[in-house]
Symmetry: C2
Subunit: 215 residues, 2 copies
C-alpha cells in the first residue's frame, strides 16, 4: 500500500488518485520491460524512465525490486486465469473437447497479444526467489485445477484417445503454448494460424471426435 | 584461458591438469545450480562451495559471473546439437517422419536426463544480457537449421498433414519439449511415457503415415 500521509481532507482523494495512477504506471512499465528484458535485465532506472517518475520514488510504492516484480507476475497469472475462466463460463453448453479447444485458444491469444503482465509472468516466474513465490504458486495451482478439470471432463466424456496420459498431455500442450512467448513475433504468420496449428496438435494428438479440419 | 605462470617445467603439466580440473568443476557446479536456481539465483559463493574452491578463485578462470554462465549455456546448446546430430547420422536410412521422431525423442531425453548444462541453457538463455548472447544465438541458429531440414524433408516426402504450417508446427513441438524442463520431475511417470505422449502429439497433430500406436 502507498504510504500516503495527508491531513488535507480535500486534497486527499486527488492525492490518492494521483498516487494510484503513478503506482499503476510503475506496474505497467515493469510488465513492459520484464517481458522484453527478463528478470535479470529489468532495472529500476528503466522502469522509472518509462513510468516517468524518479527511481527512488518506486520505493514509496514497493518495498523492493523483487516485491514490484512479484506483483506484476502475480497479476499476470491472475488475469490469465480470470480471462480463461470467463471464456469457459460463456461456453458452458458445449462438449468437453470443445471447451478444451476454447481454453487453448484463449490462453494462447491472451499470453501473446493481450497482456504484458501475463507474458512477463510466463517468461520469468521461475526466476523469482523461492521465498517470494507463494502467491504466484497458489495462483498457478488454481489455474492448474481448471486445466485438470478440462482434461478430466474430456476423458470422462470418452473424448480422449486411448493410451493418452492425461497429465502428460496437459503439460505438453500447456508447455507448447507457454513457450510461444519465447519465439512468437507479432510480424509473420497471424495468431489465427498459430491457434489453428496448436488446435491440430491438441486434437490430432490427444482427442478424438473433434473434427481436425474445423477451427 | 587460465592465467598459469610457472617456470617449473616438470610441474607444469600437473598444474595444467589441476587447473583444467578446477575449471571443469566450476563449470559443472554452475550448470548444476543454474538449472535449479535460475540465472538470477545463481551465486558465485554457491558455485564455489559446490566446486570446492574459493569464490575469488573463479575469477582466475572466468572474467565475470556472466562469462561463466555464458560458457555453460553455450556448452549446453552445443552438446544437445551434437547429441541429436549423431543420433540422426546413425539412422540415416529411415524415413523423414521416423527421423523427426528420433530427433524428438533424443532432444527430450537429453534435456531431461543427460545434461545439467543443456537444461540450464534451455531454462536461462533468454535471461542473458544481449551483448553476451552471440555464441549462444549462433549455436541456436545451427540447431534450428537441423530442425528446419527435418520438417522440410517430411513435407517433401508428403508425410506432413495437409494444411499444417511447417514453421509453426516445428516451434510448437520444440516449445513443448523445452518447457518440460520447467515441470518435469524425475519421480512420477517415466521419461518413456513422456516420450510416447510427445510422439503422439507430433504424429497425430502434424504427420501422416506414421502409426500413432507404435512408439
Amino acid at each position: 500500500m502507498p504510504r500516503l500521509a495527508t491531513n488535507n481532507a480535500s486534497s486527499a482523494p486527488l492525492a490518492t488518485t494521483k498516487s494510484a495512477k503513478t503506482r499503476a504506471r510503475i506496474l505497467d512499465a515493469t510488465a513492459h520491460i520484464l517481458c522484453r528484458k527478463g528478470f535479470s535485465g529489468t532495472r529500476l532506472s528503466d522502469i522509472a524512465d518509462r513510468a516517468e517518475c524518479q527511481a527512488p520514488a518506486i520505493y514509496y510504492y514497493f518495498e523492493s525490486r523483487e516485491d514490484l516484480i512479484e506483483e506484476v507476475i502475480w497479476q499476470g497469472m491472475a488475469h490469465l486465469h480470470d480471462h480463461v475462466r470467463k471464456a469457459l463460463k460463456a461456453a458452458s453448453s458445449v462438449s468437453p473437447a470443445e471447451r478444451l479447444n476454447i481454453a487453448l485458444e484463449q490462453h494462447l491469444r491472451f499470453i501473446l497479444t493481450e497482456s504484458d503482465y501475463t507474458m512477463a509472468a510466463i517468461r520469468n516466474a521461475a526466476q523469482m526467489p523461492i521465498e517470494l513465490r507463494d502467491r504466484q504458486l497458489a495462483e498457478q495451482q488454481k489455474y492448474a485445477v481448471l486445466w485438470r478439470k478440462l482434461f478430466r471432463d474430456v476423458r470422462t466424456a470418452g473424448q480422449l484417445r486411448p493410451g493418452v496420459d492425461e497429465r502428460l498431455a496437459r503439460m505438453l500442450i500447456l508447455g507448447s503454448l507457454n513457450w510461444s512467448t519465447e519465439w512468437w513475433q507479432p510480424r509473420g504468420e497471424s495468431v489465427d494460424t498459430l491457434v489453428q496449428n496448436a488446435k491440430r496438435m491438441l486434437n490430432g494428438g490427444f482427442l478424438k471426435e473433434v473434427d481436425n479440419e474445423v477451427d
